[in-house]
């Protein structure tokens, strides 16, 4: 049993507080929750909304129809009433109008004035909503106390109660689950992964939708004993991070497409100087400024080939808040293991959606730094770029070994790091750097497969489509359609094993992506020769839901 609620209003109406409260209460009651944001690039006004889905089984995607709407303004009603189920409900203040029978008007503003705190306006709506779903408001004080001071908690509680009293229950849902989840979004998961993975320095420049990674880390920096620095621009951000990594700490940076553009030269520097670094690109639609607050998977091509000349690099597309945490830790380890740049690709949808998931298992993760000791490097000049069998040179931290100096360099250089233009050296260094690609290939994780053993239709996706594909495959499989989906996390170098296996055996291959040209499909064609037969592409800045994919498969593929 799953229900879908939409909370809508203008920017600045406190929607974020309301919806967060609602999510927390639902979670506390033992429900699975999935909440995604749709907002405009402005600070006040416009039309924003949050969609909250909850139920008694795990949820991985938003949904096109609605069971309830909390409308903070008229345009929420106007924009979304056509998505409301016949037996759905709209809750709004008495000052909004609608002829629709499904509208329940409650005097939210008036009551909040009575409570003497206009801010509890929304909590009255939540109280009413919970009642409509037959959910009690016992024991929600702790949720409020976590967020507010005593007085405000009290006022909110009162508001909840008032709302609860005003309406009749309409749906009936009960959860017998204990609340043993965390609720977290993609950016928080990356940020938490960064702390867990030993990031000691994060330098970045604010850019939607990546900013909240930095904001989270910044808030925790004192407690975590790390430094978060807002750089003067993205060029500085990546170069500071490289300097810190060179000097011996785990560093990281994050941005979105436009800022990534400015980091491109730094990526090449990291490559030739063999400095480990993790760079997060939270994608949004372009080109250029594009749609700052919307979602896309449009930078795959770009990040894979970013910066002049060839060098090893790794790209990981994170798939959901659970994956985002573990992959961030893994990216940090791999960057240091191979002394390369690892790019984490996320997007606005994943960045901002909240999901209840089981707590991260800290026994599964470790921090592995692959640093060399005095004994490893031997006597004489320290060779930062020493030729070795596998192309990885012993790496030490500057200043930690007496009389050893470390030379990081951006030219073609010899083993020490001195400029060397000779043919022999160039070939040897190029080979040394590129050797690590084959190591990376052995390290790479195959895409996740979901579906029947022998699919006739094979869906291909990457990153944040994971949740939607999961739901779509389930829906289609329920109709006995022989379908499966491969969802790439590691995407460069491209793992090809599962693809060869399922690709060869299925009749129709369909790539599902949030971009115009089908960037994954093109990459697969280049690397394996497989051609996708059909494409499901969305590039309007909004995410395909599980139902959207289900519908498209039924209409366009079957």
């Amino acid at each position: 049993m799953k229900y879908n609620i939409l909370v809508g209003g203008a920017a600045g109406q406190g929607m974020s507080t309301i919806s967060t409260l609602l999510q927390k209460v639902l979670k506390r009651k033992g429900f699975y929750v999935f909440a995604n944001k749709d907002y405009m690039s402005r600070v006040r006004g416009g039309h924003n909304f949050v969609q909250i889905r909850f139920g008694t089984t795990p949820i991985t995607s938003h949904h096109p129809t609605l069971d309830a709407i909390i409308a903070l303004d008229q345009s929420t009603i106007d924009n979304h009433i056509n998505r409301l189920n016949n037996n759905g409900i709209i809750i709004c203040d008495t000052d909004l109008n609608s002829e629709d029978k499904r509208v329940i008007q409650i005097p939210m503003r008036k009551l909040s004035r009575e409570i003497k705190n206009p801010r509890v306006f929304g909590s009255i709506g939540i109280g009413a909503l919970l009642k409509i779903f037959g959910i009690s408001i016992d024991n929600i004080e702790p949720v409020l106390r976590k967020r507010f001071d005593k007085n405000t908690s009290q006022a909110n509680l009162e508001a909840f109660k008032k709302g609860h009293e005003l309406v009749e229950s309409h749906f009936n849902i009960n959860s017998n689950n204990e609340d043993n989840h965390i609720i977290i979004n993609g950016n928080q998961a990356i940020a938490l992964g960064a702390i867990a993975g030993g990031v000691t320095f994060y330098s970045a420049y604010p850019m939607t939708p990546s900013t909240s990674v930095m904001t989270y880390l910044s808030k925790k920096q004192q407690e975590a004993g790390i430094l978060v620095e807002q750089a003067e621009d993205e060029i500085a951000a990546i170069n500071m991070a490289l300097g810190a990594s060179y000097a011996g700490i785990r560093s990281m940076t994050g941005t979105s497409g436009g800022g990534f553009s400015l980091m491109v030269e730094g990526i090449g520097l990291g490559a030739v100087a063999e400095i480990p670094l993790v760079i997060v690109n939270v994608q949004r639609p372009g080109p250029a400024t594009g749609l700052p607050t919307r979602t896309a998977q449009c930078d795959l091509d770009f990040v894979i080939s970013a910066s002049q000349d060839d060098f090893p690099k790794m790209v990981i597309a994170v798939r959901n808040p659970e994956d985002a945490f573990y992959q961030t830790v893994r990216a940090l380890n791999l960057a240091e293991k191979y002394q390369i740049q690892v790019i984490i690709l996320s997007d606005q949808y994943l960045a901002d959606y909240n999901q209840t998931i089981k707590p991260y298992n800290f026994d599964e993760i470790s921090i592995d730094r692959y640093l060399s000791s005095k004994d490893d490097i031997g006597e004489g000049f320290y060779k930062r770029y020493k030729f070795t069998e596998n192309g990885i040179s012993p790496r030490i931290i500057p200043s930690t070994i007496e009389s050893k100096t470390v030379l990081g360099d951006s030219h073609e250089h010899n083993e020490i790091g001195f400029v060397d233009e000779s043919i022999e050296n160039r070939i040897a260094m190029m080979n040394k750097r590129m050797k690590r690609i084959s190591l990376l290939k052995s390290e790479i994780q195959e895409p996740e497969y979901i579906g029947v053993e022998n699919p006739e239709i094979l869906l291909l996706g990457w990153g944040s489509t994971h949740g939607s594909l999961l739901e779509a495959v389930e829906l289609l499989a329920n109709e006995s359609i022989k379908i499966g989906a491969l969802i790439f996390g590691d995407i460069w170098p491209l793992p090809t094993g599962q693809l060869e296996y399922y690709g060869t055996n299925s009749k129709t291959i369909v790539n599902v992506e949030h971009n115009f040209t089908g960037q994954l499909a093109n990459l697969i064609a280049q690397e394996t020769g497989f051609k996708c037969d059909k494409s499901i592409l969305r590039y309007d800045g909004r995410q395909l839901s599980g139902t959207d994919i289900y519908n498209k498969v039924k209409k366009e593929v079957l």
């Binding site: 004192q222 300097g243 700490i249």
Partner: protein, 286 residues
Amino acid sequence: MATDIKLFESKSENSWCPGCGNFGIVNALKKAFSELDLLPHNILIASGIGQAAKTPHYVNANGFNGLHGRGIPPAVGAKIANKDLRVIVTSGDGDSYGEGGNHLIHNIRRNIDITHLVHNNQIYGLTKGQGSPTTGKGHKTSMQFEGVYADEFNPIAFAISLGCSFVARSFSADKDHLSEMIKAGMEHNGYALIDILQPCVTFNKINTYKWYKDRVYYIEDDYNPYDKVEAFKKSQEWENKIPIGVIYKEDKPTFIDRIPQIKDNPPLINKKLDPKNAIKFMEEFK
């Protein structure tokens, strides 16, 4: 007390032109290191790209030869990682004031404790003689055949306007003065900008050794570098008389000192890492 200056000798071949002003800077730098009793592995020399920016190859110390215009940010990152490192940025006028101008502005604002030597030859040396921000207006170059159109950049006035906590000028042919300035800059807590007049014997036929020698003078003993308006006035001297010495100083906390979690702890490179440290943060998502 001084360390052996030979410790700082590099094994790299040197590709500067004979007679280049850069040699004087490297020598003064080594002298300063030695007199400050430093050891190579405790120093970091960072740079961008250019003739001057080759310096990390020519002095034995930790080195970071990064991207054109981006000498400062990695130096800052390294200082944050390891606050005990003695960090020098040593790069060209094009690198520091041209391509990299934005980093200079904002790291002066941070007052991060690094010493920044600008080898100011008033020209782009490595790329063969194009005008730099400090090339004199009207000077003809290998790119500006009718002379540079833009006004000359005044690094001293610029740094003072930003409240740079140590602003000095020196001359590459005056090794003693220069090494004293470097030492003073390195002993200063905070951003120390030292603009060094550095003849480029190949591409700058105007601002030659002689040109500089005819103009430089030591700043008066009774000059007070803490007076900002006076310092600004001093910064305006150029055409006929060029003051060398410490032009401006300001006492204020360095970047590191402003940040308790760095200031009050051992260098970040010594921080113990453990994934489990993050468990408490995860709990908040419950």
